[in-house]
Symmetry: C2
Subunit: 285 residues, 2 copies
Amino acid sequence: MKTVAIAGVGLIGASFGLALRKAGFSGEILGVSSPPAIEAGLRSGAITRAATLEEAAESAGLIYLAQPVDRILTTLETLGPIAPASCLITDAGSTKSAIVRKASEYVREASFLGGHPLAGKEQSGAEMADADLFRGRPYVLTPLRAAAEPTRDLRLWLERLGANVIEMSPAEHDAVLAFTSHLPQLLSTALAYTLARQSNPAVAEVFGPALLDMTRLALSPPEVWESIFATNKEHILTAFDEFLQSGRELRTAVELGDLRSIFAQSATFARVVRKLPSTPDGVDH
Amino acid sequence: MKTVAIAGVGLIGASFGLALRKAGFSGEILGVSSPPAIEAGLRSGAITRAATLEEAAESAGLIYLAQPVDRILTTLETLGPIAPASCLITDAGSTKSAIVRKASEYVREASFLGGHPLAGKEQSGAEMADADLFRGRPYVLTPLRAAAEPTRDLRLWLERLGANVIEMSPAEHDAVLAFTSHLPQLLSTALAYTLARQSNPAVAEVFGPALLDMTRLALSPPEVWESIFATNKEHILTAFDEFLQSGRELRTAVELGDLRSIFAQSATFARVVRKLPSTPDGVDH
């Protein structure tokens, strides 16, 4: 891997460039992106020069697609047929089945390996890029027909970036992320929507830190989420229906004044994902 | 106000003591609480000595009830009948109607003024106390039959602590908080409960920062929330039903692939509560 190309020099793409550098990668890093993203990427050192997708296909051993899901799908249509056998294409899209399916249709000679770094920040854009963005975070790879050698090579680099690489099938990835990422997004949006529709202006004034936590995701741009939801609709609707079922159970528990069992199971899960010991602890409100 | 007593020297109570000190209060601050809370309060300087509720009633011009809602209700039964006319009792409970009703039944000669600081932290306890906890945060007062002078006096102190004092009726407070505090708690718990019931262990492994945001409140102790829900059940069930309605609309929008309108309204609300300009911005995932 002498030359890397990053398509989509936003938060994830630029962080990948910076992280590669920090981990010792000394080759060229081409950036395929909009002029302002290229400029920010050059300034931070995430990329060494701008390139077209065609130039990237010619010279890069690894092409990293860090665009929104819908853009990854169209990039694969262009890139797939022209990338040579020496090239590994990987992506950082939030859903995997549709992307992997598209790759199997369009990528001819190159290898393709689906990926999804579970990393993010409050704000997007190359300016927010961080060489340690992937450190300690899960990084899903969905190896299918990828050649063994470039896959091993990428996996090694991701581990050098500090990521916890987890292999899953595209379908399992999408089923799990429907619960751990897409459902939280829907709930945050639905909560903010519920409050937006209240006529009493005090709902936007009298609140504590809890409301800010729970509405942060509602700031997300719909154009990014439309393609995530469109490419994982069934799993998302299933997750949402399971949530509604849980919600109805909790509503009954509120009516009966008996919250202990549901709160205990929820708190246990919330502690597990934080790697906290199982002794109880408090949150104020 | 020469002597203040704080009943319940936890995060809120101890922070109130520290904040008073920082704002220039030089009198005694009595603490009515469990031995470990008293010890932590003495160590941090939030209180000057331990006292019983009876001693507090005898000597304090202000008694600050910073206990969970159910404890405030029982404290009022004991304290109300013995507190003299020179005493102002206020509370920091998360619901107001039941507490104000209880006060109007039990507080004989003293004044009572319901209150609710919209402040909190991830972790509870006097050890986490912070003299700036109330700074820049809303602080609801629900003045009803409180005498004008002690009310003015308390309001002045709260403003010196940097709080944004907002006056509301107890009923309006409870209706608003059902949406801004109690509903977010229910959603966080229901989300964690939904994920806790998935058989695939990957739901506790493959996630990004969004899931941590959205399940933080699920760490809350049920004993605190049982009395909040019990004293605001109707408003909470209404808020939850309105959320379910919003959720069904959003579900339909996902099915139709048309998220723009709901996302736009939600993002606008999320920006308003953050005092952000109305230009769009991104959240990564």
